[in-house]
Symmetry: C2
Subunit: 292 residues, 2 copies
DNA sequence: CAACCTTTGTGCAAATTTGAACATGTCTCG
DNA sequence: CGAGACATGTTCAAATTTGCACAAAGGTTG
């Protein structure tokens, strides 16, 4: 029972009773309809129709096919409606992923988004492994750092995450604040485990602070935060994160050169869907409001 | 949502996750699969799959299609099984038609047929109008007289219906029996309303009996029977029918030249079905047994 | 890390499907 | 009864679909 188009043709013939009528409805030539029926009957080995000068009347097999194909036709129409409608509708799952360190900033935004579009279910994935857009693991990803250049991904700049240098009260009480580059060697800095880190503030760190002064290294920004809070030294933190900890002392305020750009990334196949567009528009609007 | 073949293609891709796999299952080239998907998505205006180097993964729309098409595939397999199975099975309706005058002889045979094939429902149509095979009004027709030459019908000889001349006791008591052709003008005969009747005994009647002697004419054989029984004159009746009326006097016993041939007629589209073949075989076997 | 395998994607030619025209037959209506 | 409308069915050319060859790119494995 392969070749579903022939079933569809037979269905119209059974429904209308004539080859000509079916051909008109299907938008094909009546010769095509005849050939479809002949092929289908030949493959089944059973006559579906009885031919006569006034048209085709369905045999029992033909009537059976009529019932089944009728249901199929209904199913397909509904499916088509759902699929096309889904294009206009913001509903179903919307999977967003980012590195874990951004979750504090993003969760409130996603919650607000969900309240505006109640039919959508937001799934916010953060984890140690990178969720990949190209395998359909997420609709939207928020990536930090250098501009992602994956093919098939459409990426647009969002905002920058401002980074400053912070230390705990305890640290400052013991070591004081550096007054200039000449003091750096007398301080303890928290750096990245990866010596080649491209984060702009770590590039600055490599270029301005002697390696010996970097006495604590972590892979993870969460670990850096914890280290700073524990008084391990001077470390770089997002300004928004730092504000949440009144214990911290701002060693250096955020600089533009330290800012880490954030990117909104979507897969081409999903980028044009209204659901994704709704989220992107929502995020941008939210950031614009925050700026003002 | 026209072109069901593309839905079938998309279904296999969604099910297997790769274009290549779907192409193999479908028995087509993978380029064809890609083109089907592209066409379908283009028409729907929604992406069904997300493309990546390891294959295609279904979007929500694609998964919706998967569910619907899965059900459709099941339905079509079952349909195919039913249709093909029906070919081997003697079940469902079996519509037989004949002129009403043969019903006495045929009903017992059809009843026996139904007992042998309990899953079949026999519908025996007799009526004033001719039920036509070419419009699917019946599977098998029993026709009397000259050989039917309708195209698209397959006709085979069955047996002959023997006709003799009969009259009622009352008639014979009053008029006696004709001793030879010279007596015909002194008798009353029952003839056909149609002066051109091709029934062999009526041809004989026209050629051998003066028109004035034919004093009662009917269109219908049932009416002829009634007329004979009522004493209207000498009329022609089927031998089997006459035997059921002991009041009748056999004026002339059945002659071969008076016999009316009977034909089993089926439409070509139905002739090869096992159901029809079962009935035809049954009828022939029954007649052969009767002969012995 | 390099070779190999699997996957998608794209021109171009072959094969298949489709469409137009015509033949034929039946039914209907005046 | 005869003309017209409408149905199926067949033949041949055109159009579309399909298959093949090849390219490119990510994934896998030794």
């Amino acid at each position: 029972m392969e070749n579903w188009d022939e079933i569809r043709t037979a269905y119209q013939v059974a429904r209308l009773g004539t080859v000509s009528g079916a051909a008109e409805v299907l938008g094909v030539h009546h010769a095509t309809v005849i050939r479809h029926i002949d092929a289908l009957e030949g493959r089944l080995g059973v006559k579906l129709f009885q031919r006569h000068a006034r048209g085709y009347t369905a045999t029992e097999a033909g009537e059976d096919l009529l019932r089944v194909a009728q249901a199929t036709d209904d199913q397909f129409s509904q499916l088509s409606g759902r699929i096309k409608g889904r294009g206009m509708d913001v509903s179903g799952d919307l999977v967003v992923t980012s590195v874990a360190s951004l979750s504090q900033a993003f969760t409130p935004m996603l919650v607000a988004f969900q309240r505006q579009y109640p039919k959508v279910t937001v799934r916010y994935l953060t984890g140690d492994r990178l969720f990949r857009l190209e395998y359909g693991e997420a609709h939207v990803a928020i990536r930090a750092g250098t501009i992602p250049d994956q093919p098939d991904n459409v990426v647009q700049p969002m905002t920058s995450s401002c980074f400053g240098a912070y230390a705990s009260h305890e640290y400052v009480a013991e070591y004081g604040l550096p007054q200039g580059p000449q003091d750096y060697s007398k301080h303890r800095f928290i750096g990245p485990d990866n010596e080649d880190s491209r984060a702009p503030f770590y590039v600055w760190l490599r270029e301005n602070v002697p390696t010996e002064a970097i006495r604590f290294r972590c892979t993870d920004s969460e670990a850096v935060n914890a280290a700073v809070l524990s008084g391990a030294g001077i470390g770089f933190m997002g300004a928004a994160e730092a504000e949440r900890h009144p214990d911290l002392v701002e060693v250096y305020p955020p600089r533009d050169e330290w800012a880490v750009p954030l990117w909104l990334v979507t897969h081409v196949d999903l980028h044009r869907t209204t659901k994704v567009q709704a989220l992107l528009a929502f995020i941008k609007k939210r950031f614009n409001e925050d700026k003002q």
